[in-house]
């Protein structure tokens, strides 16, 4: 009887898997793979051999090689900037070296396509970027003076957008670049520029460096950084800074062609390359989110073989790759580690799969024999390796959130005393106090990851 039941289930499962495969076959259009193969095997860097769709002009850059192509790409980007930009005037300001903890300022968030700021102390909310456009992902510069955000073209084109910078009060709006098609952007550590990724059709991603202060032309970071696939770089939250650029000036870059190849450090012009310990070679895993510490004195990287079954590890090392140490214990890390503002700790996603038959952390409504697990944030002391789970960040996985406690993102507060997290886009953010391990839910909702302004101490 039991054997018959197992046989029936096996047949049902096989049928279901066949349905899933058939559904995927129906949905995915069969394409000509020749162009993909040509792109993958191009002997020159891939972005030189693939047409680059630029700035809505319909211009396809011809496939040429050498320095001439780089000049043409820069000219095309500049032309699109001139054609579409609304320059209200360039600015020249001195940028303090902002490293370490700062004071907590206001928080920027988006609701209904408009950008707001809120004083978390008083609760006072200001609408700073209104209008019919759909704006999202506001990120404060590290010096707290400006906000960068994405402006989507239309709801039907969520992956095509413009990058805009305003002052912290919403004034002086400037379009930095139009029609980027990537998914990520972040401020440079010195608050002078922005880094964004942009898809090259049928190829992969290029990183472009954009000046927000003067009038320098957009410049590709890849090369000299290796051209790569979906980024292993630190475009995660953590304050919206491109953590693959060494603070405070961004002079040294963490670089890898993909998540499966060892990490290197190099100057911005590609010189002075130092190959770091290849953590992917330790167990044949992949690396994610390599990040400089806020002072630029250390590097952290996560190595994982899929997020499951306690196979992810967090490493720190010196800038030359020496003193490699694993922090904490190998566990089901979600892969997102963020340095505290003072560089003494790393907060990291963790998750746990619950084995069948247990009731531990299994919500009452769920099936006892199939409760999948939960996720939370752990704080790890960099020097001692001591770990502390933040109970207030616990989030059950059973509703399909996945192996992270906050799908809407999270980050350290500027003063390093709390975590700002958004469990779900459109939900109400929470401030998790480190000392008391308690959560305060804020009285407003945010459609994207909120950003906390840093107010640096005056020298």
């Amino acid at each position: 009887m039991a054997d018959q039941g197992r046989e029936n289930r096996a047949t049902t499962d096989a049928t279901m898997l066949a349905r899933i495969w058939g559904w995927a076959d129906q949905a995915v259009e069969h394409i000509d793979a020749s162009a993909i193969a040509r792109a993958a095997t191009a002997r020159i860097p891939l972005h030189r051999s693939i047409a680059l769709r630029v700035a809505g002009t319909g211009v396809n850059a011809p496939a040429i090689s050498g320095p001439a192509l780089r000049a043409i790409l820069l000219l095309v980007l500049l032309a699109s900037l001139a054609a579409g930009a609304v320059l209200v005037g360039s600015q020249h300001r001195s940028i303090p070296a902002v490293v370490g903890p700062a004071s907590n300022g206001i928080i920027a968030f988006v609701r209904g396509g408009d950008i707001y700021t809120v004083d978390p102390a008083s609760g006072s909310i200001e609408l700073i970027v209104p209008g019919p456009q759909i704006d999202t992902d506001p990120i404060f510069s590290r010096d707290g003076t400006h906000i960068a955000f994405r402006r989507l073209h239309t709801p039907a084109e969520p992956t095509n957008w413009d990058l805009i910078v305003v002052r912290a009060d919403g004034s002086d709006a400037r379009v930095i670049i139009r029609d980027l098609s990537g998914l990520n952007f972040a401020w440079t550590p010195d608050s002078r520029g922005l880094v964004a990724d942009t898809w090259i059709p049928s190829s992969h991603v290029g990183l472009v460096l954009l000046d927000t202060i003067g009038s320098q032309e957009p410049a590709w970071l890849t090369p000299p950084m290796p051209v790569y696939g979906p980024s292993p770089y630190a475009f995660a939250h953590g304050g919206g800074v491109a953590w693959f650029m060494r603070p405070p000036s961004g002079d040294r870059l963490l670089a890898a062609p993909d998540a499966y190849t060892g990490l290197s450090v190099m100057d911005r012009d590609g010189t002075d390359v130092i190959d770091l310990v290849d953590v992917t070679g330790l167990r044949g895993g992949y690396q994610s989110l390599p990040a400089w510490s806020p002072s630029g004195s250390r590097i952290a990287v996560t190595e994982a073989r899929w997020a499951g079954d306690k196979e992810a590890r967090l490493y720190v090392m010196d800038p030359d790759g020496s003193d490699l140490r694993m922090l904490g214990h190998a566990t089901e890390l979600g892969g997102e580690g963020q340095w505290s503002p003072d560089g003494s700790k790393i907060a990291v996603n963790q998750s746990r799969s619950i084995e069948p038959g247990t009731r531990d952390w299994c919500p009452v409504k769920w099936w006892v024999d199939s409760c999948p697990g939960d996720a939370w944030i752990t704080i790890i002391d960099v020097e001692t390796g001591d770990e502390r789970d933040l109970e207030a960040t616990f989030s059950p996985e059973w509703d399909g959130v996945g192996q992270e406690p906050a799908r809407g993102g999270w980050s350290w507060s500027p003063d390093g005393r709390s975590i700002l997290m958004l469990r779900e886009l459109g939900g109400r953010p929470e401030i998790i106090d480190m000392e008391s391990d308690t959560s305060t839910r804020l009285p407003w909702e945010s459609d994207s990851t909120p950003s906390w302004q840093r107010i640096a101490a005056k020298p």
Partner: protein, 187 residues
């Protein structure tokens, strides 16, 4: 089309083609791309449930494969290896998209107004929607195991590709399939 038919292509390609591609023969590599890309896109689609992202994930896997092909010692492991890379890229892309202010809304997994290729049966269309919704409620790791299993990989192959034991894969897959059975029966 069952994955086993695609697997037959893999066997017929043969060790010599793999060896040539691994040594830098672009023509041989192109044949490998042609043989495997669509399956990679299918697996990526099961993982991320977005057609565009699935194609981008599968496309993004090939430069990696080109660089790392020589590290695959056993040609019979090529297909699981490629599918796993595509699944991993799909997870990464889906994760990045979730973080970029795009609130997920319920969408029909099929192109607007169009039924499955060659079919306009409303009942079949509803079935696909139920299946898509049930898969959407799984976490990405579970969808990865399901996608690779639907592609015809054994538990051992899946385990080697994603860093789990074969028994761990079986246990996880059994749990996930039980959940899918329950949801589709209730739905």
């Amino acid at each position: 089309m069952r994955a086993v038919q695609e697997g037959a292509i893999d066997r017929s390609v043969g060790d010599s083609l793999f060896a040539r591609a691994a040594s830098g023969d672009e023509v041989a590599f192109t044949r490998i791309v042609a043989a495997h890309h669509n399956d990679m896109a299918r697996v990526a689609f099961v993982v991320c449930q977005d057609v565009q992202l699935a194609q981008e994930a599968a496309s993004a896997a090939w430069p990696i494969a080109w660089r790392k092909l020589s590290s695959v010692r056993d040609p019979s492991k090529l297909r699981p290896w490629l599918l796993a890379i595509a699944a991993n890229e799909a997870r990464g892309l889906a994760r990045q998209r979730r973080r970029r202010g795009v609130r997920e809304i319920a969408v029909d997994p099929l192109p607007d107004g169009i039924g499955p290729r060659g079919t306009t049966d409303p009942a079949e269309r509803v079935g696909f929607i139920d299946l898509a919704n049930a898969l959407a409620r799984l976490d990405p790791a579970d969808r990865t195991v399901v996608g690779l299993s639907a592609a015809g990989l054994s538990s051992s192959e899946i385990g080697q590709a994603i860093g789990m034991t074969a028994s761990g894969v079986r246990a996880r897959l059994g749990r996930v399939m039980a959940r899918l059975r329950e949801e589709l029966r209730d739905g």
